[in-house]
């Protein structure tokens, strides 16, 4: 934990310092010279704009625009409505608010309009009607999607993982003596364990909720949590994945010396807890074209520590996510300038590319967002996001594994989602 927080004044002062630079004396001359040599553009758009501004018959234009909008809406509804693959409902964050789609992924409904400048993130399904949501001021809320009411569960903390029975949540708190982990009962908001001291990391570091939003980071037998951070005793390039024993508070290494400091290795736990899959990123030396964007997938047995490489040296994988039955792993494959969705069996065989888009979104160098790929409940398809790497919100898409049918889910953009 020990996360840095900046004030508005600090950010403003930083920009003031950058901008406190005299305008070079020749900039004005250069600008005016360039303008003098440049004709104005009275192209189609400008002429049309001019024409429209002068048009007497604006009513006709409005009628035509409305008709075009109606046709577009009918087409969009038909496309969204044609998807018949049921599964867990799609919950997503759009504009900082929490939305939930219907079982057919259509008809999204705003379930929590966050007040003021508060922004919700990391939605996690607790049960069919309740979502756990983190918010920007540090609060953790349980949101009832039937009544659209949000209940404050934790004033200030960071959700790490949801228990296998979904009744409790592991939350990290900052204390003067360091970060601690507490187990909170979702129904009552009460702490049900003695706090466990967390390892001291160089920031940024934390335990993770896992790309499925929680359950996959807490072992099915309830005895340990999957964690990651950076080993400050080695160097900034040393990523660390570990097992935190909830009974004793002891740390057991699963993988160390992972490249690279900022690149969280996206570790995920198999649904039965028998393995952990993670990414070992490339360094600039090993793969300059893929620096910080991709690496190899590895699997490690959390008990024996035995490791298995799932993808090859020259591969380009990030963001692994187990299928519900644990047999397959979906991941984002870097194809430059973006990613595509691929799958591979948990033993490293049967690798297959599902999309050919080159703009699938994958976690950035800081491991955000936490949800970027999600399997359907029956394992028949994968929901993912598409859009520029630096965009804050992206389109939600779905691909079926048999048939490889692509479909956009609704028309709203999202910063995160979960199923």
């Amino acid at each position: 934990m020990n996360e840095t927080r900046l004030t508005d004044a600090q950010i403003r002062d930083a920009f003031d310092r950058r901008a406190r630079h005299p305008v070079p004396s020749d900039v004005r001359t250069d600008v005016l010279k360039a303008v003098a040599a440049e004709p104005q553009r009275w192209g189609w758009a400008a002429r049309t704009t001019e024409g429209l501004a002068r048009a007497q018959n604006r009513r006709t234009i409005l009628v035509l625009a409305a008709a075009a909008l109606l046709i577009a809406t009918i087409v969009a509804v038909a496309i969204v409505g044609s998807r018949t693959d049921p599964g867990r409902r799609l919950a997503f964050i759009s504009g900082g608010d929490l939305w939930v789609a219907g079982v057919d992924d259509a008809h999204p409904r705003l379930v929590w309009d966050t007040p003021g400048t508060m922004v919700a993130y990391r939605p996690t399904w607790v049960d069919d009607d309740t979502l756990l949501v983190q918010e920007t001021n540090g609060g953790v809320y349980a949101v009832d999607v039937r009544t659209s009411t949000a209940r404050l569960l934790v004033q200030t903390g960071e959700v790490l993982a949801l228990s296998p029975d979904h009744l409790r949540v592991a939350v990290a708190f900052d204390r003067p003596d360091g970060a601690h982990l507490s187990i909170i009962e979702v129904a009552s908001g009460l702490q049900v364990n003695n706090s466990i001291a967390l390892p001291v990391f160089a920031p940024p570091a934390n335990l993770i909720a896992g790309p499925q939003g929680g359950p996959h980071a807490w072992a099915p037998d309830g005895t340990w949590l999957l964690g990651q951070g950076m080993d400050t005793n080695v160097s900034a390039t040393s990523g660390w994945i570990y097992r935190l024993d909830l009974r004793t508070g002891e740390i057991h290494d699963l993988a160390k010396d992972l490249c690279c400091g900022l690149n969280f290795s996206n570790p995920v736990m198999a649904p039965d807890g028998s393995s952990v899959v993670y990414v070992d990123h490339y360094t600039h030396e090993t793969n300059p074209s893929c620096h910080f964007r991709c690496g190899s997938l590895w699997s490690v047995d959390p008990v024996t520590g035995r490791r298995l490489r799932l993808t090859g040296d020259a591969d380009s994988a990030v963001g692994p996510v187990f299928s519900p039955d644990g047999a397959w792993i979906a991941f984002a494959e870097y194809v430059g300038p973006g990613y595509d969705v691929s799958i591979v069996r948990s033993d490293g065989t049967g690798r297959r590319k599902l999309t050919n888009l080159a703009d699938v979104y994958a976690p950035d160098v800081e491991g955000e967002p936490y949800t970027y790929l999600a399997w359907d409940a029956n394992g028949s398809g994968i929901t993912f996001m598409r859009g520029p790497l630096d965009a804050a919100e992206r389109q939600l898409w779905h691909v079926t594994i048999p048939g490889l049918q692509l479909q956009r889910l609704g028309t709203i953009t999202a910063s995160e989602f979960t199923r």
């Binding site: 900046l6 950010i11 900039v27 400050t232």
Partner: protein
């Protein structure tokens, strides 16, 4: 804070109308009224003189070229703000083609003192400022632009949304993401 987001006055609107019909002298007066503010916001976003100079020149050039397409003269400021943001984006793209920035992989210092938002001592203030400046450089151009428009330009969420062509709600969530990214970058720079 110098701002280019001032409302277009009636006199300026008149200049815009004249420039729109090809009056270079009127456009020159518009340039004079906005040059300093434009360069400063470009500096805030881009962080170096060469790129800020390119973006400033490109913004005014595009504005001149495309002025005939501007329907309402009193919307000039918002319209020009959008052009400037795009010009900054282009400047960054050009810079990326010229150089690849490496993330430091140097050894960590002992200890792990945090950045103190409550107020650093006089001895550490200058060092903190430098670190924060480097952290800003680590951000994506999109994040830096958002933060600059909000914290330096002091634009409202709605005004930023108009400049970037996105809803105010989206601006809010993007601002949050950008701020988090800056805080993380700061943590990395402090190691």
């Amino acid at each position: 804070v110098v701002t280019i987001a001032i409302a277009t006055t009636r006199a300026e609107a008149s200049l815009v109308e004249r420039a729109r019909t090809g009056d270079r002298e009127a456009f020159e007066r518009l340039v004079d009224g906005r040059l300093t503010a434009t360069f400063r916001i470009a500096m805030a976003i881009l962080g170096n003189e060469a790129d800020a100079r390119d973006a400033t020149q490109e913004a005014f050039l595009r504005a001149w070229r495309d002025l005939p397409g501007l329907r309402e003269a009193d919307r000039f400021d918002g319209w020009f703000g959008r052009i400037l943001v795009n010009a900054c984006r282009s400047a960054v793209r050009g810079r990326r083609r010229r150089a690849v920035r490496e993330i430091s992989v140097g050894a960590l210092p002992d200890g792990g003192e945090g950045f103190d938002p409550a107020g650093p001592t006089a001895d550490t203030r200058a060092a903190d400022a430098e670190v924060l400046d480097r952290a800003l450089d680590r951000l994506s151009q999109a994040d830096r632009t958002l933060l600059a428009l909000h914290h330096f330009e002091e634009l409202s969420l709605e005004a930023i949304g108009l400049q970037l062509g996105i809803p105010a709600k989206t601006v809010k969530s993007r601002l949050f993401s950008a701020r988090r990214a800056l805080e993380r970058a700061l943590e990395v720079e402090r190691r």
